[in-house]
């Protein structure tokens, strides 16, 4: 069960641990369930406790962004550690996502 927080019609989802091919399918289902239960809320994903992420994790985040954009909603990412940030930089996705240094900045 993913930990979440709601503020000003924004849902913060806290991901932790590994976001790899082994776990990404389950995590994607949980995120989609949160999106469905909060049909008007924008989503912020806090990645501070992600210790490892592969392209399977990127694929999940892209899929979440696609789902939200289709419904006119937004996705923000925050608290990327250096390893996760490097992946975004290598595949040149920093500009494609709305990325914030801190959760407070993403919520503002």
């Amino acid at each position: 069960m993913l930990k979440t927080k709601e503020k000003n019609n924004q849902i913060v989802i806290y991901l932790r641990g590994r976001l790899d091919v082994h776990l990404s399918g389950e995590i994607e289902k949980e995120i989609n369930s949160i999106i469905e239960k909060n049909p008007s809320a924008d989503i912020i994903i806090n990645l501070s406790e992600i210790e490892y992420m592969s392209s399977s994790g990127l694929r999940v985040l892209v899929a979440v962004m696609r789902t939200l954009k289709t419904n006119g909603r937004s996705l923000k990412l925050c608290n990327l550690n250096s390893a996760v940030r490097k992946i975004f930089e290598v595949v040149e996705l920093m500009d494609m996502f709305d990325i914030y240094e801190t959760e407070e900045a993403a919520l503002a």
Binding site: D20, H22, S54, S55, R59, V90
Partner: protein, 145 residues
Amino acid sequence: MAIQMIRETFGVDIQEIPRIKVFLEKNLVQWGVRENDLYDILLACDEAATNIVMHAYRHADEAKKNSDSIMLTVKKKRNVVEVILKDEGESFDPDSTPAPDMKLNLAGLRKGGFGVYLMKSLMNRIRYRCQDGRNITVMLKVLSS
């Protein structure tokens, strides 16, 4: 200088991917590979093994998946780490994979495509060949320190 080498076989199963990472990480740390290079090698190997399970064995039945294995060999000589993965699934040449396209991904016309791109970007060289029914992927990393 002596070549350090490890070899291990893993099942053709998504559940094995974390095991590959743990095995590789433990040994590379023992060889003194430092954090940035370590992460690059772990991620590239994760992506290569994931491609084997998800693509090379996509059409394989359970019997073949259960009887086959992924053989991982890792060598270190001076400041170069070589990772070799062998499998007997369908041939899968990383060079045949187009670069990721975010617009196609967002339009739902393509899923992913980031794995091979990451492998090529994080490692210094990737070579693939199919020999005697075996896929052989070789990745080289020149250590930065």
